[in-house]
């Protein structure tokens, strides 16, 4: 079990080596990064085997210990901070996803980033990103988790702003960092609140406190909501979803990594890890549901009207994360993590395939693409598989996980929520269909572009991910799970309190199939076959379409708030700092000293008798004073 640390330490060591000596290594030392993450992936198998053979394990060591102190009027009870790792099904699943996706993305990057000036630094940052995420997953306490959480945020900043010479990339990196920081502050306050109430940072101990009811319900709800605030920031949920589409300024493999494994999954993982808290705080759970559902619908409509292939995928991630949150809010830990798992492969595949398209064409505008399936067959086929999986095409992985989500929503929420979830599923089929048909089917639109298929180092990861996207969903079935060494299907491996064996609900299957068919078929008619005119549909939705095309003015609203409120407040504080603290305080002290010195220097006449008189008068005055104070 202890060897699980190595999973996080190997990429960290690669990062340190690359940062210290990367310039001197041939090729920037990329093989160190790829080797480290590859070794971590290989090490994952024994960890997983250990978990299945011996059950969940934990291991911790004392990181900081202050002995009890006893002094007069002062008693310090002592304080110990333990850092540890926990390997349970939840962590093991995430470890597998993170190491595998990171490995494939790094291999792909060898082709995509070839010839970049900061090739070595790219792999160094990649390694740190993977190490931070692995540490986050392994952490058994909120403090270590928070360290890793911030490290993940830092790495996303570094990689989104990788091409920082481009102003938009630098701005996007800044936006991602600051927006997620808004949520991080909530997370930190939540952690400290829970620590004050329970005296521990350990997630399981806080969970026990929530279970046994020793925590005040109001405080528990507040703590859970603040923890969820962190998840909102990292997982780009409404209202902090604005950074993720802009994060597309980074290199495309980075987007794949951020969207599939490392960054945005952290928010869902955090809620899943703290699930006991949420289960015992129904208010917080309702908020998770509402935010997830609203985000899923909002981002889905945004994906539907965007014209940048990467931004469509970004909004699709936001909406899929919304579905995961919705599932968590509906007590469906299994469904949420299952969707995270299938979505990770599908979305990594989609981004890498989109990167391959961009690599071949040099544009991201879907209206300059078209008919690419013939020119880039491997990319086209794999992208289509990923898109169909996310749209819920039968027997691909997304079909299983989406069905699970619909099932838990139907079980735990009222019909209105189910209807909205179904609408969200329809929207996701629509936008996935739209982008796939427009980019890869129909006729080429721009004859000045000469697309070519990408090199093997890029297409091989695509093929691996496409295979996983096709087969990953079957883990839900008992026989498949058992043949992999699990006790049963996915639901009997990862669950909250009770195993949830996989089952299909006939009505919901028909519903989800109908939604997928409607979405994919409708967009096929609109964009390939030409039976429906997209512009007339857009005209019918008039206001809604214009609002969605303008991203619902959320960015503008934030800009206005920043301009009118934040900058005005900051201006006031800056004025105070400049005029009161600096001019009056610091400079004022200096000026007063100079003035006093100027006035007082005239006391120094240099004449002997002045000093003699001063001395004598001083002695007399002091004597009189001493006599007067001593009394008769």
């Amino acid at each position: 079990m202890e060897s699980a640390w190595l999973l996080a330490l190997l990429p960290l060591a690669a990062f340190l080596l690359l940062v210290l000596g990367g310039r001197r290594l041939p090729g920037g030392g990329w093989y160190l990064a790829v080797g480290a993450i590859g070794a971590a992936f290989l090490l994952w198998w024994p960890v997983m085997g250990d978990l299945l053979a011996r059950g969940p394990g934990a291991f911790s060591f004392s990181w900081l210990a202050l002995p009890p102190l006893q002094a007069t009027g002062f008693a310090f009870p002592g304080f110990e901070l333990r850092f540890g790792l926990v390997v349970d099904p939840l962590a093991a699943l995430m470890l597998g996803i993170v190491t595998l996706v990171a490995l494939l993305v790094q291999i792909y990057s060898l082709g995509y980033m070839r010839g970049d000036r900061r090739f070595g630094w790219y792999f160094a940052a990649h390694s740190l990103f993977a190490a931070a995420m692995l540490a986050l997953v392994l952490a058994d306490n909120y403090l270590l988790l928070y360290f890793a959480w911030e490290l993940v945020g830092l790495c996303s900043y570094l990689l989104i702003g990788f091409w920082y010479e481009r102003r938009s990339a630098a701005e996007a990196a800044k936006k991602a960092f600051i927006t997620t920081r808004v949520g991080d502050v909530g997370l930190l306050i939540g952690i400290l609140l829970l620590w004050r109430a329970t005296g521990t940072f350990e997630i399981s101990a806080i969970g026990h406190a929530a279970e046994s009811g020793t925590l005040d319900p109001g405080l528990l709800t507040l703590g859970a909501l603040l923890v969820f605030a962190g998840a909102i920031g990292k997982s780009a949920q409404f209202p902090l979803h604005v950074w993720l589409p802009d994060a597309m300024e980074g290199p495309t493999p980075v987007s794949a990594l951020i969207h599939a494994a490392t960054m945005v999954a952290a928010g869902v993982y955090l809620v899943a890890r703290s699930f006991t808290l949420f289960v015992h705080a129904p208010g917080a759970l309702a908020v998770v549901t509402a935010v997830g559902l609203f985000t899923a619908l909002l981002a889905g409509t945004l994906a539907l009207v965007n014209n940048d292939i990467k931004r469509v995928l970004a909004y699709s991630t936001v909406s899929q994360l919304g579905f995961m949150m919705l599932a968590l809010g509906s007590l469906g830990l299994t469904a949420a993590m299952f969707h995270l798992y299938t979505h990770a492969f599908a979305k990594a595949l989609l981004f890498l395939a989109a990167g391959s398209v961009i690599h071949g064409l040099g544009t991201q505008d879907i209206w300059r693409m078209g008919g690419l399936l013939r020119r880039m067959p491997l990319t086209g086929v794999t992208f289509t598989i990923g898109a169909l999986a996310l749209a819920g095409f039968p027997l691909l992985s997304g079909f299983f996980s989406k069905d699970e989500i619909l099932k838990v929503v139907a079980e735990h929420q009222n019909p209105a929520v189910l209807a909205l979830t179904a609408l969200g599923a329809l929207v996701s089929a629509l936008y996935m269909g739209r982008v796939t048909w427009v980019v890869f089917f129909g006729r080429p639109r721009d004859h000045e572009l000469h697309p070519h298929e990408s090199p093997f180092v890029m297409t091989v990861p695509l093929l691996i991910l496409a295979t996983l996207t096709v087969v990953a969903g079957y883990v839900a079935l008992d026989p498949v799970g058992q043949s992999l060494g699990l006790h049963g299907g996915f639901g009997e491996f990862l669950y909250h309190e009770h195993p949830e064996p996989f089952s299909l609900n006939g009505g919901l299957v028909v519903l989800s199939l109908a939604l997928a068919a409607a979405g994919l078929g409708g967009t096929w008619l609109a964009y390939v076959q030409g039976g429906i005119s997209p512009s007339s549909v857009a005209a019918r939705f008039g206001v809604l379409y214009r609002w969605a095309a303008a991203k619902y003015y959320v960015d503008e609203l934030y800009q206005a708030i920043i301009d009118r409120v934040v900058l005005v407040l900051a201006g006031g504080v800056a004025w105070f700092d400049r005029h009161v603290v600096n001019d009056a305080g610091v400079d004022g002290t200096g000026r007063a000293t100079v003035w006093a010195g100027f006035v007082l220097k005239f006391q120094q006449t240099g004449k002997f008798y002045n000093y003699a008189i001063a001395m004598i008068v001083g002695i007399v005055v002091l004597s009189v004073l001493a006599g007067a104070l001593k009394g008769p």
Binding site: F602, Q604, T605, G606, K607, F608, Y609
Partner: protein, 102 residues
């Protein structure tokens, strides 16, 4: 009969004379001599108190010897300074020595 207060009066007169000399004289040598006067006024007081008040009459005398010793050292040092000052500036008028001012 000569009592303690007679000695104290003598000491006070000597001290005041010395103080006046220190403050009023411009000649550095005269100032030094006035300082000696003040020190000897103190000596008178010490021996008078030792004789009339204290149980151990030698204590005051020992102090007086110390003061005389220090006065000798001070006079030696002071006269040396005055000598150097005279060599440098050609005067020992204290009004002329006011370089240490703003």
């Amino acid at each position: 009969m000569i009592e303690l207060q007679h000695f104290l009066a003598l000491g006070a007169v000597l001290f005041a004379t010395g103080l006046y000399g220190v403050l009023a004289r411009r000649n550095a040598i005269l100032v030094l001599m006035s300082v000696e006067l003040m020190l000897n006024a103190v000596n008178v007081n010490l021996i008078a108190f030792a004789t009339f008040v204290g149980s151990d009459r030698f204590l005051g005398q020992v102090f007086a010897v110390f003061v005389i010793c220090i006065a000798a050292a001070e006079a030696g040092l002071g006269l040396a300074i005055v000598l150097r000052a005279n060599r440098n500036r050609g005067t020992i008028n204290l009004d002329e020595f006011d370089l240490l001012k703003w």
